[in-house]
Point group: D2
């Protein structure tokens, strides 16, 4: 029997941190050695997340207290803009799976524009590999730093990248009407996320201002080989987990909706976590809840000539921590589904 990989989770008191604990505490090749939460240092995980009361986990500590000589890999689930300095100062032997946005934008100027400060770890950013697993396996396996995609980008890129790569859709005609569960907003104490403010109603937010937008455009531009600008409207849904992207596209070079469907079905055949539904069927977020799966459906809009592509993920799993574990498995040579093959929880 081989030794386990010793990991730390930074930011264990947030939802993506808790999701990492849920997945990694049952991962057969992982030993959780350190859990950090600077403001909760000294507390137990059961204090901050009652659902872990039955586990024997290390007590929460500060990042400074971590003994990195005992850590092989670190999962960063810190708030955006706080990860980069931490990663910059890590010992070289520690491999990094970052769930935050800090290493996703490749262009420092673009980062500055959207985050309103200079990036503090430009060297490390150059090393970072974008962790959209299904499109980047070879580089992920060898990388030291993985920038795991955001939830909105994951849901949008999985169906769009293959179509742009093959030049089957018009890069100027992509509209993404995105709907997210509340857990994507984190555990911070914000009035806007109270049950009273979120349940029994819906609304759009951050139109043209959401930080996942340049990330999506960066990856679509790479896929298309030409500058892509999207229309992107995020909406907040009265549910905790789940993300649905309704994507409006126009086929080019003779591509029909059915053709786009065929391309996606072929591209993802054999994938463990990406499932293209029969043509004309569309997914429900509840059918991927708590799982690392992505369901994709394609429908024709006959009269207008558009195709409608709908993708569904769990924003905390495939859209964050689950994809992080998927990348971790690749990095350490474990079967890609290890620890993340649980089936969706419905109802």
């Amino acid at each position: 029997m081989t030794a386990k990989t010793r990991i730390a989770i930074l930011g264990a008191s947030g939802y993506t941190g808790a999701e990492l604990v849920r997945l990694l505490a049952r991962h057969p090749h992982v030993e959780i050695v350190a859990l950090t939460a600077d403001r909760k240092a000294g507390e137990t995980m059961a204090d901050v997340f009652g659902q872990f009361a039955m586990l024997h986990l290390p007590r929460l500590c500060t990042i400074k207290e971590v003994d990195w000589s005992k850590i092989d890999a670190v999962f960063c689930a810190l708030p955006h803009a706080t990860t980069q300095a931490v990663v910059r100062d890590l010992p070289q032997h520690v491999r990094v799976i970052d769930i935050s946005a800090d290493f996703r934008l490749e262009d420092p100027a673009l980062y500055r524009e959207w985050y309103a400060h200079e990036h503090q770890a430009l060297e490390q950013q150059k090393q970072a590999v974008y962790g959209l697993t299904e499109f980047n396996r070879e580089r992920i396996a060898k990388a030291r730093i993985i920038a795991c995609p955001g939830c909105y980008p994951t849901a949008a890129l999985l169906p769009l990248v293959p179509l742009l790569e093959r030049k089957l859709i018009d890069p100027d005609e992509i509209i993404i009407d995105a709907k997210s569960g509340v857990s994507g907003a984190g555990r911070g104490e914000k009035q806007a996320n109270l049950h009273t403010e979120v349940s029994e109603g819906i609304h759009a937010y951050g139109i043209s201002k959401h930080r996942h937008m340049p990330e999506i455009e960066q990856e679509l531009t790479k896929a298309a080989g030409t500058k892509v600008a999207i229309t992107f409207t995020p909406h907040l849904m009265p549910m905790n987990r789940g993300m649905l992207d309704t994507i409006y596209v126009r086929g080019v070079n003779g591509a029909t909706a059915e053709g786009l469907h065929g391309t996606l079905a072929q591209r993802f055949e054999g994938e463990n976590f990406v499932h293209v539904m029969p043509f004309g069927e569309t997914p429900q977020t509840r059918h991927v809840r708590g799982s690392n799966h992505c369901f994709i459906g394609v429908v024709a809009d006959a009269k207008t000539g558009r195709a409608i592509i709908i993708s569904a993920i769990d924003n905390l799993t495939k859209g964050a921590s689950g994809q992080g574990v998927q990348n971790f498995n690749l990095m350490y040579g474990y079967p890609e589904t290890t620890g993340i093959d649980m089936l969706p929880l419905f109802p």
Copy 2:
């Protein structure tokens, strides 16, 4: 003191029927004389809707049992396709406010195509006036039969009709990504509408097949003076009341997003129930819950040149029964807000 208008509500055991009772039982100029529900005849309203236990209402009866000589106006909240024969056979003195879809489509061929049977009251359909109140007041006031718009059409037409009438948007580039609460699906016993199947998740349904689509296209075509075909994707939301339409359009003839906003703001100035928010702000469905209000917001999508228009209504009130009462007030010369001026219920 003038006599009250004596009304009947057909289909009082459904949600739009109950919504009519909620509004009309407190309407100062209305006397509810008959409530029908063929399968529940003999029961009290409190039996089928516990929230009315404190009211003194007529017992539920069959449609056949209604004494029409005592009725001035009838609200029809029957399932689609069952209203037309009833309305055909009504005495002439009875004025009709129909909440169902039966008299909305003007073209019998279009009706047949979407409802798969011949319309049974073509004479009456010719008399019917489309009850989108803000656009049709004069004809509504004099009409005998009002075909109240569906919920999706109400939310879409209020912002789109003024823009198409003024030729400010491209009629070939209208995408409506619509989100509805579950109450729109009615009180029928369907597995798909169980709490377990609907809560904590979202999904699209009926893409290109929803019967509100031809209704929207009919009215947009009239407004544009040219054939309009839309892309229309309805989604089911885990909430009871509320509808949000996210509408993607392109300005033409020099119209910017700000210009579209100005046009809408001007068009609805002074309206009691339609409120255009400041440019760049967008509405929440929970802020219109239980009320007859429609909130509209307009946002620019600078890079792509599109404008995003978002409208919010309560599907049971402005999207159904509330607009019915609004039309009724016009027909009988009551102030338009009578009985429907309650403020939204939030939280």
Copy 3:
């Protein structure tokens, strides 16, 4: 036509404040002259509560900025412990309807025990009348200061007071298993009230420690003429509005469950807002949502000899602001239902 009563609402940026605005903005005899929210002073109500965008309301100001010479009555919807100093310093001509807990406990020692500080307006507290409307109309009509009951006390006292007054139940055998919607916790930014923390789950909280407990015991003791100690377990429900009290009692002096039911039915006959259901039927909170109604049901538990009494209210309406307006109507001689006779919103 008589002049309107000029009112101020203190604490208009909280949920009970917003509920007062919802009710009073449509009250035919009220003019809203001032709305305060110290931390939001200068903003409009539409800024803090989007649902009021269509109203013309005074801008939010600080309490200090209120010109009391223009105010006849003030509704206090401030956080607990902040009302008393404000009320102490008000000019004498201003009548006070307090929705907070500050004037509910009559015994200063009990207040100190539960709130951990000395009461700052003992003179005013002596004048305060407990505003459980159905039991105190004469004193309320003449009072200067009304201490409106808490939500849990309202739901518990309405059925229990008549039974204890008539010595029909054992005062040592009262168990109140109470369930509340989240809006009762207010609009404060607390992690515990996030959608993610509250939805799709339930839990008890504050057992034997909830501040509504001494208030209930105070009033039950008065009714019984003997010291009453209750078992009281509040639970937080994944819903915004609504409160259900499941109350376990034992009849004494020959009282059966059916007898208790008969007593309550007789006691509340003719009441506008309290409805005793047929024996054996029990209420749903959704059937009183958004209304000032209380529904009460009584069931026999044959084998054990207990009776189970269930009461349902909307915690923000009959449990707070609605009862406040009901008391206001009494104080000013308006019909008791003025402005609060809207029917429940279901679904």
Copy 4:
């Protein structure tokens, strides 16, 4: 490597059936050979439960079509009263884990009283072992037929049986105020379970009439050695999964609340799935969601001398299918946690 146990699931189109598939499809020692659903025979599991689209499962068939020679064990997730005839006619080599209520009541007269018909498999009922795992391991391991407890009984019996066995609480003073998620009501098309009827509100139902009541009393009577009659009030909660029992008891023979807590903590020490929280703390259903865990808390109610015991389970897992798999593991000598050690899903 040993051969897998070949199983059939009867009633795979219901929620407990789907929960069995979720657990057993990932069970390392199980091969799912047959899935039945008489009315859906011929469809795939993906047709009836979209979340299983990525699995290769046998197509749904009728019970008659099952080839029992290829089945070692059968899980019955059929509606109540339909299981008994099926089990009666099974070949002897097939071991039975029944999730329905059919074999829970030992007294045929009691069964007749509550189910209004004669039991059709009295011979088999005599063989059935009550599957409350933590109290019956030896008999379960050897049994041919397991009657898995209902969800309400599981949540109530786990804390109450040890206390009654030790005569630490008064058997005449047990009040169970129970709250259940909607999934317990199954997937049947009932108006009462529509999202519109269930969300945003709560209510009690079936007081003194719920069929889980005699089951609880049967087991409590066995534990106490004396006839136990309980007060039992089930409530329907606006959530899908989760059950919370708030249990009011009185200590006897000198037992304090703290003493009761100590007894429970000791009794369940070392159990994998039953966790007694520190004295004074109480559980949340969301902290056991999707898992086989039961959390128990005990609080003192000082003034009245009562103790309040609160237990939380997921009604579909520990309250149904999870406990079924736990028993199955015992029957076949697998480690008890196999296939059911997933951590709770929160948020």
